[in-house]
Symmetry: C2
Subunit: 585 residues, 2 copies
């Protein structure tokens, strides 16, 4: 198999064939990558500046170019040194990039007087149709608080640049500077004011499109939840208001750079502005929320965001590749390579509880372990003691809510069957595979029964009704989680994700079986009895056995607890949604 190797005099020599690219990916040979140039300043610590820009371009599958106006020696702690790049060098970098390379979009960040001058000169020299879209992040101060460019005329410079740009992305502070007022005077306390200020910024900067960012001033809704509002005001007078949850993170270093770079990346891919901004807001939001820890312990805030949350580690992917040939090298690293990219929680098991682990492994009861884990328990309780079940049992649930639930449940089963298909494809043994395929078949049978029952009880005239069920948001969230685990998780994770539905319905009916007072002819009664029936109890028993097998196959019980807790929450929300349902009139 390794034809090139003659016997060498070196005893400890191993020979390894390096695999080629994944075949399907390789079909896209010589692909024209969308390319984006950042014209900005370097942040050596990597959280902001051209470093954050290049990370963002790369994470967006774009080709990144740079043109640096200055370098900073900075960390989240502060700015220690600024070095301006000579005008001539900046000019040569800009011009040679534009002459020799494809540039589909430009993003500008922190600039110097010289850089703005050169950029204006070069850009105005291009015809409008030759000029790539420019996204201007009007940086005045770094998020570390230091003003990199002390020259006050920076505001004037931005105003000169903006008319050539496609979009300008001021935050509250920058907006106030550009409008020549204080932040208080902006009165950005409601959507109307934000829209009106965005419109004013359009007039003042003469930039055709303005994204006014509300991230520095989140609002609170009636339920006490904090949220962020960003307003895009476009050249046609259209307006898009983006609402996102507020992340309580102190690590927001480089968010401005990243947002503008993500917008530029999406534009370079040919997306329209409204979509480009949507994608960028979600990307930054995710990067903040997922976060990362890369600064030393003495740095308490202003840490970087996680630009790479969506990326997989190439070597881990290679090792999973069927044709990977370097296993022999893995003598001591085999242990270092985790089975997959599973989320690793901080292990909460101390040495005293590790005897519990071996006890459970010996004698079973992993299900009991899971539902009594402090992360899972509250959600398991609210799920299996849900008022929805009580109100079915005693017959007080409104019919239309039950009908809504059954429809959603029907759509859920469709999805549940799909996920079992994926579980089948990941099954470690033939018998696991066969079981999954059996389950798929029995879900299909259950769906048929579901349809018959509903057609009878709710006088549904034809099958078309079932194809037209719209997924509610609770179901969408649930299906989304399944999809995510199916794509990114292992068979073990899928087993954990698929378990709460099976086990929970059974336990919920156990909890309320004495409360079943509804008439025996009622569909509510038969619904309750289904989950108390012997065939369902058998399925639950198999579910217990499966969990006991699963816990033998991994040490990372924390991930399984996290998944179990998440699905219990999703189940609770599913019943909540049924209780809250109001038929539209």
């Amino acid at each position: 198999m390794l034809p090139y190797m003659k016997h060498t005099g070196y005893v400890n020599t191993q020979q390894v064939l390096v695999n080629t690219a994944p075949p399907y990916v390789a079909l896209r040979a010589n692909e024209r990558l969308a390319s984006v140039m950042t014209v900005a300043t370097s942040d050596c610590s990597g959280g902001a500046g051209i470093e954050a820009d290049l990370k963002t371009f790369t994470a967006h599958k774009c080709y990144g170019l740079t043109c640096m106006a200055a370098l900073t020696a900075q960390t989240p702690q502060g700015v220690y040194s600024i070095h301006e790049v000579p005008r001539e060098h900046f000019e040569l970098a800009l011009k040679s990039n534009l002459r020799d390379m494809q540039v589909d979009a430009i993003k500008t960040g922190m600039l110097t007087k010289n850089a703005v001058g050169v950029l204006l000169e070069v850009m105005s020299g291009l015809k409008a149709e030759e000029r790539p879209p420019i996204v201007v992040d009007p940086v005045l101060v770094a998020s570390s608080g230091a003003s990199l460019v002390r020259d006050e005329s920076v505001i004037q410079d931005i105003k000169r640049l903006a008319p050539l740009a496609t979009l300008i992305t001021p935050n509250v502070h920058e907006a106030s500077q550009l409008l020549g007022c204080t932040e208080q005077e902006l009165q950005l306390d409601n959507v109307e004011n934000m829209i009106s200020k965005a419109q004013e910024l359009q007039i003042v900067t003469q930039c055709p499109n303005v994204l006014l960012k509300g991230g520095h001033a989140p609002w609170t809704d009636v339920r006490g939840k904090r949220y962020v509002t960003d307003v895009l005001y476009t050249k046609n007078g259209n307006c898009v208001v983006y609402l996102s949850d507020c992340c309580d993170s102190k690590n927001t270093h480089g968010t401005g750079c990243t947002l503008a770079s993500a917008i530029a990346s999406n534009l370079a891919h040919g997306e329209n502005l409204e979509h480009a901004v949507y994608g960028a807001i979600q990307y930054v939001h995710n990067a903040i929320e997922i976060g990362c820890s890369v600064s030393k312990a003495h740095i308490k805030e202003n840490g970087p965001i996680n630009h790479v949350y969506g990326i997989k580690t190439p070597l881990r992917e290679m090792v999973k590749d069927l044709c990977y040939s370097a296993h022999a090298l893995a003598i001591d690293s085999q242990d270092n390579l985790p089975e997959d990219d599973a989320p690793k929680g901080n292990s909460t098991r101390s040495s005293s509880t590790s005897s519990l682990v071996s006890q459970i492994r010996d004698s079973g009861h992993f299900f009991e372990y899971l539902v009594s884990d402090p992360r899972v328990k509250p959600h398991w309780e609210s799920y299996t003691k849900h008022d929805f079940v009580k109100r079915v049992a005693d017959g007080t649930l409104e019919r239309e809510k039950f009908k809504f639930f059954l429809e959603q449940d029907y759509a859920y089963l469709d999805n549940y069957a799909q996920v079992h298909c994926i579980a089948a494809s990941k099954a470690p043994t033939t018998s696991d595979f066969d079981k999954s395929v059996q389950i798929v078949t029995s879900i299909k049978t259950e769906m048929e029964r579901h349809r018959e029952k509903m057609m009878k009880h709710f006088r549904i005239p034809d099958m078309k009704h079932f194809d037209e069920i719209k997924m509610g948001s609770a179901l969408k969230n649930y299906a989304r989680f399944f999809d995510d685990v199916a794509k990114n998780g292992s068979w073990i994770h899928l087993c954990a994700a698929l378990s709460p539905c099976l086990m929970g319905y059974g336990h919920a009916l156990d909890n309320f079986k004495d409360a079943i007072t509804v008439d025996k002819d009622d569909i509510y009664y038969s619904w309750c009895q289904d989950y108390l029936a012997p065939w369902y109890r058998d399925a639950m028993q198999e579910g217990l056995v499966l969990l006991d097998r699963v816990c033998q196959m991994t040490d990372d019980w924390d991930s399984l607890c996290e998944i179990y807790a998440t699905v219990c929450k999703l189940e609770t929300a599913f019943w909540d949604a049924a209780l809250q349902y109001e038929a539209s009139r």
Copy 2:
């Protein structure tokens, strides 16, 4: 659903909820990213230097930091300007990164005299156990041919740095300079010499580990195939020889930077050196082979490699997300967003052939279209007219080859069933879903028949035999392609990938049915008859109908042709492997 919005005076206002992070991914909150610092020079055109380094770190899910010794204004065309960063600034960047940030590995590239001085001072000031692993790419000239640092003492500098490093990665040219000889004198024309030169480099540089790269001087094997040899010589006197196919690409700008950065990334992830080097070689190999087109037309060579080949575009992924809420914004961009990340070939259909398209769509025959496509036809022919089938039909095939084939085919069916499970999970309609599940069940039945036949004819004593079948490399390649399409392709692509097996066996037997002269009691005879049997013909007929449906669902017939061609090649190789099989004695 959008509670925050009061009526505003602005008519054209849309409100959009921004989704949160994919739930499973978000479980890894505040993850400790592996972090790597590049100490090198900037290449504004993005192909090499700190730009290539940051792209590589990001593509490896690492957090990147920089410490720049100099900036260059360069493109694949040449170097236009070099600007050295002042010593004080470099020193502050280096020290503040090391003080405030986690640095799990360092990669050095093109350096200046000052930079080497500071780096040596700072690194020797650290205790060995505090010093992160350093990968030294001993850059002497850029791949554009220009020497960035004219001072001849650069070789001495590298020799001063190397003892503090973990690995040094010279190419042939750099090796000759470090050893003080010409490239010819190195005589790198066989593995033994490469190992011995790597050992000499270890002595000369005092770097504990040496990777001697052969990429600039590929060798040719007995079959005329060019391949690249890289040799890792480690501090324990162990040696790993990495063999990879040679890519005939002129776009190799930045490969040295990228390789060293990928190694540093893998080391930062905690991989051992042998594995880290393997992963890096494959990554660079893929990045060259897949390639990209980002320079303007007048640039003919030395273009950049594709650092982002494995990355998915976030916005495209978001749009597929069940909870994505910005569809309403997509008024004119809905068309811009392709259905998925399918490989897009350059459409070969001119307007004259588009009438053929509508003709096929109206009347069927998409299968005939596929197998007569010039990219598919030669591979379809060599597959369906394969000597293997002829030799089964006339009974001249050696029994042990047939047994090997049946075993591989058995293992193939297992995989084939798995891929049908994934096709089921992606099926666009319930009826497609049901069909896939049916197929899975019938494959399972076929596998059973397979086992019975083999146990009878080859006197296999027990079932364990079938679980112990080792996949041969032809099967591995085939399964790998399936896996890849299952993960990255759509249902349509999977249909195309699964079709050649079904259709080809039938057509192959059609081609050789007059040659079936083997005895009727022979297993060869019944094997032939299976694919001529009515039930098989029915399945083929269903396969034709499916392809006719598939061609209605996409305009991107090129991708389907590429996939069809690839699978025909894999089928041919599968039968080749059986013919070439020699039982080991």
